[in-house]
Amino acid sequence: MEFGLSEEQDLLQETVRQFVSEQCPPTQLHAIFDAGEGHAPALWQGVAELGLCGLMLPEEYGGADLEVLDLALVCEELAYGGLPGPFMMHSLAAHAIARAGDSDQRGRHLPALADGSAIATLALAEGEGAWRPEFWSTRSEGGVLHGTKRFVPHADLSDWIVVGLSDGRLALVEKGAAGLTVVPEEGIDRTRPIGRLEFEGTPCEVLEGDGAVLERIGDVGLTLLAADAFGSASRLIDLAVEYTKTREQFGRKVAEFQAVKHQLARLALEIEPTRALFWYAAHAVDHRPDEGPRSAALAKSHISDRAIQAGREVVELHGGIGFTWECDVHLWLKRIMFDRAFLGTPESLRERCAELEGW
C-alpha cells in the first residue's frame, strides 16, 4: 500500500527536469516558439538519448516497458520546462501501434519509434472538436482512407500518423502518402503546432486491435494532458512567485501586499493538491480498469480548468509585462490552452464523467 513514487520515478523526474532546464532555457524556448515549427532536432535527440521515446513500449522493441504513471511524470516535467516537440503524441501513437498492431507491424515500426529515429502522431478529431468515433466519418475502404482530421499535432513533421476510424479501429499512414494533404492550422500553442489532414484515397495499414485500444489511448492521453497542465500551471505559479518577490511598486515588493500574497496562495491552493489527482488517474488507467476512464476524464477536466484560471491570474499578477509576447507567461498559458481542448474540453469531459457514473 503505497501511493507515492519509487526512487526510480523520482530520479526519472529529476533527470528530465535537469535536461529541460539545461537544454531548453526560456531564451531558446522563445526562439522555438517564435519560429513556429514546435520542434528542435537537437532537443528531440536529447529526449531520445534519455530513453524517453519508448518509455511505455515493450522491451523487445527497445522500449522501457514502463507505465502510464512514468509517462505522466515525464510529461509533467517536460511541461514544467515548456519543452516544444512531439513527445506526448509520439508516445501515444507508438503505444497505439504496440497495442493494436500485429507482430509484423510492431516489428516494423516500434524499434524506430522507441529510439526516436521515427516520429509518430495521432489524428483523431473531426469537425469543431469531435473526439469520439461515434461522431467521425473517416473510414478505410479497400486499404485506402477517406476523411478529414483536424487538430493533428506535428502533422507535417511526423513519419507515421495513427488515424482513428469511425468504426473505432486505428489505421497507420506514412508521411507523404498518396492522397494525403496536410493543411497547417495556426495553433495557439506554437510548441505543438497542429494541422488538418485530408485523406482522399490514401493508402494505409489498418491495425488489428478493436475499439478498446482507441479507448485506452484516449484514457492515457487524458492523463498525460492532465499531467502536462499540472506541470505548466506549476511553472506559472513559480514564475509569479519569482516575479512578485522581485518587482517593486509603491516602495515595496509586490508580494508584500496582502492582496497579492493571498491571490498567489489561493492560486497555488487550486493547483498543488491536484498532483495526486493525475497520479491516481495514471495508476488507475493501468491497474484499476473500472476506474481508469472516469479518473482520467475527471483529472483532465479538473486540472486543465484550474490551470486555465491559474494562467489568467498569473498574467494579472505580472501586470502589463505579463501581457507581452516577450514575457514567459504566455508560453505556458498557451500550452494549457492546448491541454484544455485536446481530447475534449472540461465541460464535455464532466458530462462524460456523469454518463460513466450512470447519472
Binding site: L298, S301, E351, A354
Partner: protein
C-alpha cells in the same frame, strides 16, 4: 505505486477482523448499558494492541511501535463495523499528545489514562472575544499567588465546555513579557469556584459553543504544562494535532454522497436534478475537489509512512483550507438545489454540524454551519499567509511593532 497491501499487512488486517468478531458484544455483556459496553470493548482493543496504539502502556495505551499503515487498517475496520476505537475528542485527540510531548511524569500519570477512557472529558480554552485570528493577543490573566494561579478573564468558542471536567488552555501569566512570550499552558478543573460556563447560541439555532468566565479561579501551579511563559510553543504542537482531526476525507465523501442523494430526489423540469446538464456540471466539478482531497490525502499519508513528509509539506499546509472550501462547495450546491424548502429553519435534529444530511432542513443547517467560525475570515486569511509565506517563501506583511 501500489494500492494493495503487503502480505504482512493483509495478515494484520485478518487479525483485526478476527478480533472485531467480538463486536457487538454477545450474551450477558450485550445487556450492559451502552457506555459500559463501549468502555469494555475499548479496553479489550487496547489490550489487543488496536486502540491507542501509540500511547505507552503505562499511561493506559497499547504501547505498540509506530506503524501508520497498521493505524489505518485498524481505523478502517473499526469504523466499518462501528466498534469503539480511540476517542477523537479534545482530551484523547489533543491533550494526550500534548502531555506526551510536554507533560511531567506526574501530569501524564494523572491525566492521560482518564482522558483515554473518557472518564474525564476535556475542553480547549484558546479563543477569546478580543483575540480571534490573532490568538497570541489573548488577555485572560493567570497571576501567580503562592503556589496557585489566580485566573480572571474570559474564553469563547469553547465547545463542550458545559460537559467537560477539565479545560486545557492558554493564559497570560507574564503580562510584562512580549506578546508570545508571556503565555502559559494550564490545566483547569472546571469545577473550580469562579469558573462559569455560559452557552453561546449560533445562527444555526444550535449551541455547540460556550463562553467560559473566570473570576478569581485558583489553579495549582503544578497544573502548568511546559515552561512558565512557554505555553505558545506547547499550543502550536497541539494545533498540529487539531489539524489532523480536520479534513477527514471520509466525512467529505459522505457529504458528497448526501449531495448526490439530494440531486436524485430533487426535481428540475420534471426530471431528477441529477439529469439536468447544469447540475451535472456542478456536481462533477465538485467531485474534482472531493477526489483531490481523497487522493492528496493518500499521497500525504504514504509520504508520512515513508518518513518523507517534507515532500508533501505544501499539500499538508493546504489541507485545512482546501477541505473547508470543498465542504462549502458541497453545501452551497445543496442549498442551491433547494427550492421553497430553502426558506425553512433547521429543526433540533438537523443541528449536526459536519454530520450527515438527509433532509432539506438538514442542508439548510449545513449551509449555515459552513459559514461558521472554523472557516471564518481571519482563519482563512491566516491559512493563506501560511501557504504564501511558508509554502512559497513570500515575504511577510509589513506589520506594526509588537506591543510589549
Amino acid at each position: 505505486m501500489d494500492l494493495e497491501y503487503s502480505e504482512e499487512h493483509r495478515a494484520y488486517r485478518e487479525a483485526v477482523l478476527e478480533f472485531l468478531k467480538g463486536w457487538p458484544l454477545q450474551g450477558e455483556e450485550a445487556n450492559l448499558p451502552e457506555a459500559e459496553r463501549e468502555a469494555l470493548f475499548r479496553q479489550r482493543g487496547i489490550d489487543a494492541g488496536y486502540v491507542y496504539r501509540n500511547v505507552p502502556k503505562k499511561y493506559g495505551g497499547a504501547g505498540e511501535p509506530a506503524d501508520p499503515l497498521r493505524d489505518a487498517i485498524v481505523r478502517e475496520e473499526f469504523f466499518r463495523v462501528g466498534a469503539p476505537w480511540d476517542l477523537l475528542n479534545q482530551g484523547a485527540g489533543m491533550l494526550v499528545p500534548t502531555l506526551l510531548e510536554f507533560g511531567t511524569e506526574e501530569q501524564k500519570r494523572r491525566f492521560i489514562p482518564k482522558a483515554l477512557t473518557g472518564a474525564e472529558r476535556w475542553c480547549q480554552g484558546y479563543s477569546e472575544p478580543g483575540s480571534g485570528s490573532d490568538l497570541a493577543s489573548l488577555q485572560c490573566r493567570a497571576e501567580l499567588d503562592g503556589d496557585e494561579f489566580v485566573i480572571n478573564g474570559q474564553k469563547i468558542w469553547t465547545s463542550n465546555a458545559n460537559e467537560a471536567h477539565w479545560m486545557f488552555g492558554l493564559f497570560r501569566t507574564e503580562p510584562q513579557a512580549r506578546k508570545h512570550a508571556g503565555i502559559s499552558y494550564l490545566l483547569v478543573d472546571m469545577s473550580t469556584p469562579g469558573v462559569e460556563v455560559r452557552p453561546l447560541r449560533e445562527m444555526t439555532g444550535g449551541s455547540e459553543f460556550n463562553e467560559v468566565f473566570f473570576n478569581d479561579a485558583r489553579v495549582p501551579v503544578t497544573n502548568r504544562v511546559g515552561e512558565a511563559g512557554g505555553g505558545w510553543a506547547v499550543s502550536r504542537a497541539t494545533l498540529i494535532h487539531e489539524r489532523n482531526l480536520i479534513g477527514n476525507p471520509n466525512m467529505m465523501r459522505d457529504c458528497f454522497e448526501d449531495l448526490l442523494t439530494l440531486a436524485r430526489k430533487t426535481q428540475r423540469g420534471g426530471r431528477p436534478a441529477i439529469e439536468d446538464p447544469h447540475i451535472r456540471q456542478r456536481l462533477i466539478e465538485i467531485e474534482g475537489y472531493v477526489r483531490t482531497v481523497e487522493t492528496s490525502n493518500m499521497l500525504q499519508f504514504s509520504a508520512t509512512v515513508r518518513g518523507d513528509a517534507l515532500k508533501a509539506m505544501r499539500p499538508m499546509m493546504m489541507n485545512k483550507l482546501y477541505s473547508t472550501d470543498t465542504m462549502q462547495r458541497i453545501q452551497r450546491c445543496a442549498y442551491d438545489l433547494l427550492d421553497g424548502e430553502g426558506m425553512l429553519a433547521p429543526s433540533a435534529e438537523d443541528i449536526t454540524g459536519w454530520g450527515r444530511n438527509t433532509s432539506s432542513t438538514g442542508w439548510v443547517e449545513a449551509y449555515l454551519f459552513s459559514l461558521g467560525p472554523a472557516i471564518a475570515g481571519g482563519a482563512s486569511n491566516i491559512q493563506l499567509n501560511i501557504i504564501g509565506e511558508r509554502g512559497y517563501g513570500l515575504p511577510r506583511d509589513a506589520r506594526p511593532p509588537e506591543k510589549t
